[in-house]
């Protein structure tokens, strides 16, 4: 297993390297010149422009800039921010680096059990009105755009009922709304998947065996049936986590949370290349690590899977 993990990590390094290259050049393909943004209304002052360009090394050929960026990544500063004068990228994103994963992980740890519960609940009542009701509810949850849901919740819970703070970051109460908005979609996705897989597994022979030996129905469902749906569900959790990271863009914007998502959007608008690239890189690393964990969890969940297969 250690061997496998090492091998996968090596493979991931390759992916990260590609990501680094792609991001570097893609970000530079974006129209808009960071120096022009710095100059703002004063764009046109050629002397100032040339000076700034030299200050930030933007007058050098692209390959040189690229090598310099790799150096900055390796020394952990990720280079100088274009927008925050005199700050390194790591200074800009340090707080965000804990905030966004915290948001995404809290949402995941709430969404998974809730999703499993609703999915199982609906599956064991397949075809009943309770099932139809839950499905409709889940479809609605999946269908509501997160920005609309956020606005609705703020309007109801913060403004009309004054129960929760409107926005911000720092207190547990300020976590409630953003996490709720993040939870709803993935929870519904997991619930729907769980229901589908449960329906299939509940038809399988070993479930009948469990019942035939007199296992209590609860244990049949939660231990035997659900235990066998975990592999596909865990697979999708990897993807869902990617969705949560993306969801952070919207939620952090709406709730004014200084996480990586909002910093990323700000940096794109400000043409703060080094920050944008670093965040994309971080997201990529984070996301691929989560998927590696998912693959490792597979093998733990399903003894039939050998690590070689999990990689495929």
């Amino acid at each position: 297993m250690l061997h496998y993990a090492t091998r996968r990590l090596l493979g991931l390094t390759l992916v990260w390297a590609v990501a680094l290259i792609v991001t570097f050049f893609a970000v530079r393909a974006v129209p808009g010149d960071p120096i022009m943004v710095m100059l703002s209304d004063h764009a046109g002052d050629a002397a100032l422009e040339a000076r700034l360009r030299a200050d930030y090394g933007l007058d050098r050929p692209l390959p040189v800039q690229f090598l310099a960026y790799i150096g900055d990544v390796l020394n952990g500063t990720f280079g100088l921010s274009y927008r925050y004068v005199g700050s390194t990228v790591i200074d800009v994103i340090r707080d965000g680096m804990t905030i966004t994963p915290l948001l995404a992980l809290s949402a995941l740890f709430i969404a998974v059990p809730l999703g499993l519960f609703f999915g199982v609940f609906a599956a064991v009542r397949a075809g009943s009105w309770a099932d139809t009701g839950i499905i409709l509810l889940l479809v609605t949850f999946i269908s509501i755009p997160s920005f609309a849901l956020a606005a609705l919740l703020v309007w109801m819970l913060s403004l009309k009922l004054a129960l929760l703070p409107v926005a911000g970051w720092g207190s547990p109460a300020q976590l409630v709304l953003p996490v709720t908005v993040l939870v709803v979609g993935p929870m519904a996705v997991i619930a729907r998947l769980t229901r589908t897989y449960m329906l299939e597994v509940l038809d399988r022979d070993f479930v009948r065996t469990a019942r035939a030996k007199g296992v209590r129905e609860n244990r049949v469902i939660w231990r035997h049936a659900l235990g066998n749906t975990m592999v596909p569900i865990v697979t999708s959790i990897g993807l869902i986590f990617g969705g949560l990271l993306s969801g952070a863009f919207v939620v952090e914007t709406v709730f004014n949370i200084p996480g990586l998502g909002r910093i990323a959007i700000d940096s794109v608008l400000a043409r703060d290349y080094p920050v944008t690239m670093s965040i994309v890189l971080l997201f990529t690393v984070f996301y691929s690590l989560i998927n590696l964990c998912v693959d490792l969890i597979y093998a733990w969940l399903d003894p039939r899977i050998r690590f070689d297969e999990a990689a495929a």
């Binding site: 129209p31 808009g32 005199g86 059990p113 720092g170 914007t253 200084p258």
Partner: protein, 518 residues
Amino acid sequence: MPIDLKKALGATALATAILAGSGSAMAADLRVNIAADPSMIDPITYSELIAGQVISNMYESFTAIDADGQVIPALAESWEPLEGNLGFRFKLREGVKFHSGREFTAEDVKFSFEELLRPGNKAGLNAPYLDVVVGADAMKDGSADTLSGVTVVDDYTVEVAFTRPDVLFPIYPIYLFDSGIVEEAGPEWYNKVSAGTGAFKFENWSRGQKVELAAHADYWGGAPAIDGVEFVVIPSPETAMAMFETGDLDVMVVDGPSMRRVLGNPELKERAITAARAQVRYLAMNSDLYEPFKDKRVREAVCRSLDQDAMIAGLYSGAAKPLYGQVTEGVAGYNPDLPKIEYDPEKAKALLAEAGYPNGEGLPPVKLSTTEPNKNQHLYFASQLQEVLNMPVDVELVERGTHLKSINSGQTPFFAWGWSAGYPDGLYFLSQLWYSDSPYNRGWKNAEFDALIDKASMTADNKERYAIYHEAEGMLMDDWGTCPLPVSTLMATVRDGVSGVAIQPFGLVPFADVTIAE
């Protein structure tokens, strides 16, 4: 269950608890929203309006602007021109203490100027004001280490010599800072401490969240009554409004769509303070890039097709003022007597026909370019021009940086834009936007106009100078060099119990005199 939920949830709760510890705000801090994280908090690299809101509470210049928009002495108590208007001798205020506790003297003025010009310091908006100072070029290209044009006469007297007359120099907002700061906090002091004389000093900057300032007890104007100021970063006006309503903000700077909301809500409207904005707006028509604009009648037709009153009502919900020239109310040299530009579609059509384009026939297609935030205005212009003149206009949205470069290099034929004053004098607008040699010239050029501007910058007498502005501005308007556009009002709302918050055309007055009841 494969995931240890208890452990996982426990970890989250713990993390939340840790975060909560650092979150509570002090009761006597004034909480104000800013629309974006400032890019800097130091006076050297200072180069954006948002950062200005924060920095102006920490740093001061020779002069300041009071709540009525009038220039008043600040760090300079008085000044007199040197011979031939080639410089000024400033008498500095005595007994002014920096945040470090050191006393402000003439050496600090010299130091500040030098730091602004020193190569590699990435100086921002304030450095260009020093271009007229003797020795500035040598400083900039690194051939001199000191600024020869600045002479420290004694601790409280400093002379600044110019290469050419610049009568407005004393009102330029050049922030002056502590020459002992590098010794005290090291060369990387920018984001760590403040080195000003203002009523507040830097305390903490949580990026993306807030900038906290603390009261400067030794402030020469008297220690502030509040403990500090907290600038909360809130990009969404909707969120800002919600936070103001729930009492999470003491002062809300109102922008964009929120203005409608404030004006539509009697309770909020009552708490609103407003000022004319020190900004001009204009529709630029570059005749080099779009042939029909060469004809003055076409330009007039365009201007007469736009209804400023309708725009103010429909797009600004009334929170804007019409503009009939290129100097705005609240800025010295404003001419209140300029004739109103009437919305007159019939006359517009007639003018266009006279120019050889009856009912728009023969007009080549043209793009009206702008950025996303200004989209609505431009959609209105396009629809009016299509409807009234049958002009083939399309709106094109361009990324901001690209747009700025394009308009500043004179490559955009047709666009509307605004220009905010850097100092409280009408010369700023006239010399930057419509002076032929300005890097920001917007497509109308006139030698007589240029001559008037040159003359104005050498005229020390205010009254005399304003008369020149009026003449030049009249010349620009008579030739329909541009269509002035409405300028939105500056607005802020103030929570009950908070007093002393004032707004002037350049924004909120520093919060030195604010008190919070309770």
